[in-house]
């Protein structure tokens, strides 16, 4: 019983990070109809940004959150304005390939700058934890979850209450009508993509505290981001959060399956990716709009 409670907590904590990864990805996909395969690479850049900032300036990694956001937002904005925008209305296939090529580029440039060495971000409180009702909770993971909740909340507020936020939602609803009301679509697209990249950067910062970084670290997060997006519902802030938490918990519980039939071991942990993907496919077939349903952000 205690193990189940621990798993639940583990899952929620892990899910928080995945929610932030999925958030940026989901916004770009839902609003601009672009599947950004370079999202994992942006996450990686966010992690490395934190690494550099903590190493060169001795900052606490949590303090680098806004910096990481700003750096990646700027990068994303520029990339969209001058590169992605050229194929903004192209069929999904084209943007898919473009972002794939972009991802290769970013990862290889990172490889040239930082080499393939594995790096980590360590703080004085890195392993610290507390125990409540028999469940051990690591501080960093808890703080990460809280940060994820705050960020998700901020995004939701920004998108519903501010002028730019409303312009974004209008663009995703109906481009023509939005333009008629004076919304500059090209600008909005650049902002949204920048936002997606910025959120990826933030996710990278949070990840860097628990996960060692290499230039190719973004891949597993990209795939999980995919699953969480679809699970939660495209383009929806709440969807990303709920999808992330559900995914984290399912993965945690699946890990407990560990049986051997004859010589074949069936390990839920070893199969966790397959399980997640099968869940994804089932959700797509049964309820493609995801848990939260088709929200327009």
């Amino acid at each position: 019983m205690q193990l189940l409670a621990q798993d639940l907590v583990n899952g929620i904590l892990a899910g928080g990070i995945l929610a932030v990864v999925a958030l940026g990805f989901s916004l770009v996909w839902g609003i601009m109809n672009i599947i950004n395969l370079a999202h994992g690479a942006f996450v990686m850049l966010g992690a490395y940004a934190t690494y550099q900032l903590t190493k060169s300036f001795g900052l606490d990694p949590f303090l680098t959150l806004p910096l990481s956001f700003v750096i990646l937002f700027a990068l994303g904005y520029v990339i969209q304005r001058f590169l992605i925008n050229r194929v903004a209305r192209a069929p999904i296939l084209i943007t898919f390939l473009l972002t794939f090529g972009l991802s290769l580029l970013v990862v290889n440039v990172a490889l040239l700058i930082w080499t393939g060495d594995t790096r980590g971000v360590t703080t004085s409180y890195s392993g610290a934890n507390f125990t409540l009702a028999g469940v051990t909770v690591p501080w960093i993971k808890l703080d990460t979850l809280l940060a994820a909740l705050v960020i998700t909340g901020l995004m939701h507020v920004w998108l519903t209450r501010t002028r730019t936020g409303r312009a974004i939602r209008a663009t995703s609803m109906d481009i023509g009508a939005a333009q008629l009301t004076g919304v500059r679509v090209r600008q909005i697209y650049a902002i949204v993509f920048g936002l997606g990249a910025g959120l990826a950067g933030v996710a990278g910062t949070l990840i860097s505290m628990s996960y060692a970084m290499t230039p190719s670290m973004g891949d597993p997060f990209l795939i999980k981001g995919f699953v969480v997006c679809v699970l939660g519902g495209l383009g929806s802030v709440q969807g990303a959060l709920i999808g992330g938490l559900v995914y984290g918990v399912v993965e945690a519980f699946a890990t407990q399956i560990n049986v051997t039939i004859g010589t074949q071991s069936i390990s839920g942990s070893g199969l966790q990716d397959a399980i997640a993907l099968i869940v994804l496919i089932i959700v797509l077939i049964v309820r493609p709009t995801g848990i939260v349903g088709k929200a327009v952000v």
């Binding site: 209305r89 296939l93 290889n108 090209r186 199969l271 496919i281 797509l284």
Partner: protein, 335 residues
């Protein structure tokens, strides 16, 4: 040369390179294939591998082209069929079967069944969702195979190979697979099947209203696509001598055939081959020239292809107005 083409599809021809695409291009491709028959005579094992890979990617590109290009269902998981085909060969080899033809036939049957089975639920999805689902299938199958001891798990399967003197048999087999895929595409495109596929791509609901059994044709398209890809995998396995999940279900192998088809000309009969030659060739040249950073240049290349040739070379060939019209297309997709 004058060519007879069904008139209602003339417009399609300009926008998409037609159902079969530029016939001159296809003729060139056939000539190139004939030339490729002479490669093993040079007795250069390395060159043989390079061209064999081109043929392999061409077959995979044709496979993708059928479901993604002609039918409009963009699959990001076709590598699954390649892997399944390779493992069919692997399992047969482990049971003592050394016959290439057996490998290919079993791979084709198994893949057709697999595609039909999986296609029933999955082909009901449209657009992005179909793409994501296929990506998921590919990754899930790779993961499951990695955990199955009966298939060697992550250690993979070692296959018996022909000896050095007879090694070119794998080259010729791959050549046949590529030729088969090519010709199948050409003839399907001109047949009722081909028109049904295109109709589904253009407007599936209208097609259904017109009496085209969309579900059946989609499954057929995917099954044929799977057979082409699986056959390539079945020849690759013994040629490589060793297969494991990382080789046979590589995510990159999803992207290459797609990029090749786009480069060459999506929805045409010549495009996949042309794209395969150019892209695989460029990759080889880059490997030579930039030993340390060729992936960087490869990534740049993909970006450039997408930006400059989103519809492919074969289509560009058929453009009236040549370069000027092409330049106009560069801004067609802007927001």
């Amino acid at each position: 040369m004058r060519h007879v083409r069904a008139r209602p599809f003339d417009k399609l021809r300009v926008t998409l390179g037609g159902i079969t695409g530029n016939p001159v291009a296809f003729a060139c491709v056939l000539v190139a294939m004939a030339l490729l028959l002479f490669v093993p005579l040079g007795h250069n094992g390395y060159l043989e591998i390079v061209f064999r890979n081109i043929l392999m990617y061409a077959a995979m590109a044709y496979g993708w082209n059928l479901i993604g290009g002609y039918t409009g269902y963009v699959s990001f998981g076709n590598v699954t069929f390649f892997g399944v085909g390779a493992y069919c060969a692997g399992v047969l080899s482990a049971h003592g079967v050394q016959n290439l033809l057996a490998y290919v036939l079993v791979a084709m049957v198994v893949n057709a069944a697999f595609a039909a089975l999986v296609g029933l639920p999955v082909l009901r999805l449209r657009g992005h969702y179909f793409g994501i689902a296929t990506l998921g299938i590919g990754l899930a199958v790779a993961d499951i195979v990695e955990n199955l001891d009966a298939l060697g798990a992550s250690s993979g399967i070692h296959l018996e190979q022909a000896d050095e003197a007879h090694f070119s048999i794998y080259y010729y087999a791959m050549w046949l697979v590529a030729l088969g895929a090519m010709l199948a595409t050409f003839f399907i495109a001109r047949s009722k099947l081909g028109y049904a596929f295109v109709a589904i791509r253009e407007n599936e609901d209208a097609a259904a209203v017109l009496g085209i059994a969309a579900t059946r044709y989609k499954i057929i398209a995917w099954a044929i696509s799977a057979m082409m890809t699986g056959a390539a995998g079945a020849v690759f396995a013994p040629a490589n001598g060793f297969i494991d999940p990382s080789i046979t279900f590589a995510i990159d192998s999803n992207v290459f055939p797609i990029a090749m088809t786009i480069l060459g000309g999506i929805g045409t009969a010549a495009g996949p081959f042309i794209g395969a030659v150019l892209l695989a060739g460029a990759n080889e040249v880059l490997q030579n020239a930039f030993v340390n950073s060729h992936t960087l240049f490869f990534g740049s290349m993909i970006v450039l292809i997408v930006l400059l040739l989103p519809r492919g070379l074969v289509w560009v060939f058929g453009l009236r107005g040549g370069a000027r019209t092409w330049l106009k297309t560069l801004t067609a997709f802007r927001a």
